[in-house]
């Protein structure tokens, strides 16, 4: 039973969708963000739908290229390009943190060139908070304070009151969401996986674009459907997929059509986002902040490589991984250097590794296919 034509998952192919339109029709707002270091629960508690900015299916960067030099990330350039063409005009707010140098600057650029462009009348409030680059007690206190200030700014900008009760309800919805995603993940790492890497990616992408209570209902349905399915029986190399942001199926399909099955990942549209829950009890905003700050990190956290490696090693064992594909979008220094270390560390453990660079918009397909096929052949 394939999820290929599942209407709910087809949302992953588009930017705006019916659920967003319904949400806004009921006088509720949508707030765009780039990085998963944002406290989603806080936004949801404020009746703000967190929408993760992406450019799925958008293959142009010309307008973005005018404002960003070619050494910058093609994902951010593509999303900026889409924004300049009106692709994110539906947003009612914009939230940025200093996750990486490329997306961080969108705070200023969107203000100057997107939300203030000729003919665009809507006022889109922007919010910014900073996240430390190390995981320490002092760092957490800084981050928590930032989140407290963000809450106040949201309340002021939208004239709302975000109560502890709102936050607690939001935590429940989000914890349930992560529990369901973990359940799907468990079905993915089975000996006969119930879903492919491409399907898992679609679920993850949709999850960031639809209100969570609706997603949760749909995830229940999908889990039921997956459990009923026979699973993928054909023998394929079991791959773990690690690195830069990916929201488009083309690259994943390239791997899976070459004789591999991506049974696990370490991506921000993937495991990194659902492994940890918010603890119940105590100050809900503090607990929300703790989860985001202390969760398994991305390479922007300078002092946490060892924990990331530990996760990889455990997952390689649990998911019976045959090989790891490390990938980065060109010009992503953070993933590029983290992958460099992973490559050496995994090779020391005699785990087959392929380390490749790519562009956000699928290009250079033949080179990539050749390298992937050669890698898969190399794996015993």
């Amino acid at each position: 039973m394939s999820l290929q034509n599942d209407p709910f998952l087809n949302i992953s192919n588009s930017i705006n969708n019916e659920y967003i339109k319904e949400w806004q029709a009921s006088k509720k707002r949508v707030i765009g963000y780039y990085c998963t270091y944002i406290p989603e629960e806080l936004l949801y508690a404020a009746n703000l739908l967190p929408f993760r900015i992406r450019a799925t299916g958008h293959e142009k960067t010309e307008l973005g290229d005018i404002l960003m030099v070619r050494f910058t990330c093609s994902f951010v350039r593509a999303s900026l390009d889409l924004a300049l063409r009106g692709g994110f005009d539906f947003l009612d707010g914009f939230l940025i943190c200093n996750s990486c140098d490329h997306s961080r600057r969108m705070f200023e650029i969107f203000n100057m060139k997107v939300f203030n462009r000729e003919g665009f009348k809507k006022k889109v409030p922007r919010f910014y908070f900073s996240v430390p680059h190390i995981i320490t007690e002092e760092g957490f206190n800084w981050y928590w304070q930032e989140i407290i200030e963000l809450k106040e700014e949201l309340e002021m900008a939208y004239n709302i009151d975000i109560t502890d009760s709102n936050l607690e309800n939001s935590i429940k919805v989000h914890n349930e969401n992560r529990r369901l995603l973990r359940e799907i993940h468990r079905l993915r790492v089975l000996e006969k996986p119930k879903l492919s890497g491409a399907e898992a990616l679609r679920i993850s992408v949709v999850n960031s674009s639809v209100p969570k209570d609706i997603t949760n209902q749909e995830l229940h349905r999908i889990i039921y459907k997956l459990k009923e399915s026979e699973g993928i029986k054909d023998l394929r190399k079991r791959i773990m997929f690690v690195g830069s942001i990916i929201d488009d199926l083309k690259f994943v399909n390239l791997i899976e059509n070459s004789g591999a099955l991506i049974v696990s990942d370490f991506l921000c549209f993937g495991t990194r986002n659902f492994l940890d829950d918010v603890q119940i009890g105590g100050n809900p905003l503090e607990q929300i902040s703790k989860r985001v700050y202390h969760r398994i990190s991305c390479p922007r956290m300078m002092d946490d490589h060892e924990r990331r490696l530990k996760f990889l090693k455990n997952e390689i064992k649990t998911a019976k991984i045959d090989g790891v594909i490390l990938q980065r979008i060109n010009n992503c220094d953070l993933h590029g250097c983290d992958n460099m270390l992973f490559e050496h560390e995994l090779k020391e453990l005699e785990i087959p590794v392929l380390n490749i660079d790519r562009e956000y918009v699928q290009a250079d397909t033949t080179r990539l296919r050749t390298r992937i096929e050669a890698f898969l052949e190399m794996i015993k």
Partner: protein, 428 residues
Amino acid sequence: MIDKTKMEDRVIPYKMLLETIATTCELTERILPEQEIPSIKIGTKCFESVLSEAIEKAREGLPIVGYSFAFPPEYLYCFDCVPVCIEAVSYFLAALLPEGVEKYYDIINNWGHPYHTCSSQKGVMAMTLDDLFKFDAIICPTGPCDNSAASYPFFKYKDIPLILSDIPFLHEEKSYEYYGKQLKLTLYELGKVIDQEPDFNRMKKHIEIENQVQKIQLEIFELKKAIPCPVENLFNAFSAGATILMAGRPENYTFYTEMLEIIKKRYKRGEHSGGEEKIRSIWPYMLIFFDFAICEWLEREIGMSILFDIFNYNLTEPINTKSGLDTLFKGMAKRTMDFPMMKQSTQFFDPFIDDCVKFAKDFSADCFIYTSHIGCKQFGSVPQILREALKDEVGIPMLIIELDVGDQRMTSIKMIKNKIKMFANTLL
């Protein structure tokens, strides 16, 4: 009994650097007429002194502490140690060795370091792989860029204790307080690693030297408003090196004091150092480190002054060393956050644009030249906005050159000169 040669061999690239600087110093002394390019003569002498002492201290067995260029070295003088600036080594050698440091860039690239990361760390990373440096610890802030955040963990992988001070975003009181505490914590942590107690009184003395230097820098900066500019182009390159390698040292004070005297004399005589000044340019970002000779070429062949680059306009306030430690560290935090690149990376780009527009007006600039360095992603969204602001508010153009400031293979000096020449022709 310490084996001094073995101890000295912990900093082999510093020995290479000393040798090249000493040779340059000797050559310029012999070849150049007395009044010509004083910055190179004074600068190399001062660098030679600092490096000689570092090597001597290494011979004595003092711990080798690597530091990021964005960590002011004067703070490290609370310890008896040999401070080694990671970025200065790569770029000084790129500038001074006839074949640059490409060999080392290739070593680390072959090891897996992405080609698009900053060459400023590549050199020392490769030298560490080759056992040419034996660091006891490395200290760095978590800024100014992704590239630093990404590259420095390599040293931890090589089992070198990596001590990080977390730099916050936005210049606010709470940021200075937070970062001040971070600095104090990291210095204590470094003390534990190298088994020394930090001596903050000694550190204060070095900070006070730097306070004096800042005053002189400000004076020189003001003199650059004069037409023609009395400051030679090459001064900017040496000043950049001095900022990251000699801060807090008496040699730094000597360099700026002697330069100020010469600049004042030129100013009084209404002189330009390289013939007729035809174009006044501001380089809001970095100079080209792999070929400092371009500074001379611009001055003599094109008649273009480089009024300043990023290392020569981010001047900071003096640090209060007379009050308690909290005030001291807050001042240190502020200075660090105002440091070149750090300042622009810890705030939105609007103040940077405003500064540039103001500089263009105050210094009567004819144009800007923006070296868009492959490693600097935090500046990747800025050039076009700046170009528009300069055009709209000052009516001057900006040339953008995409390059690697430390590696001539990406954009060769010939290509750079051609671009500048064509650009200059449109201005004359």
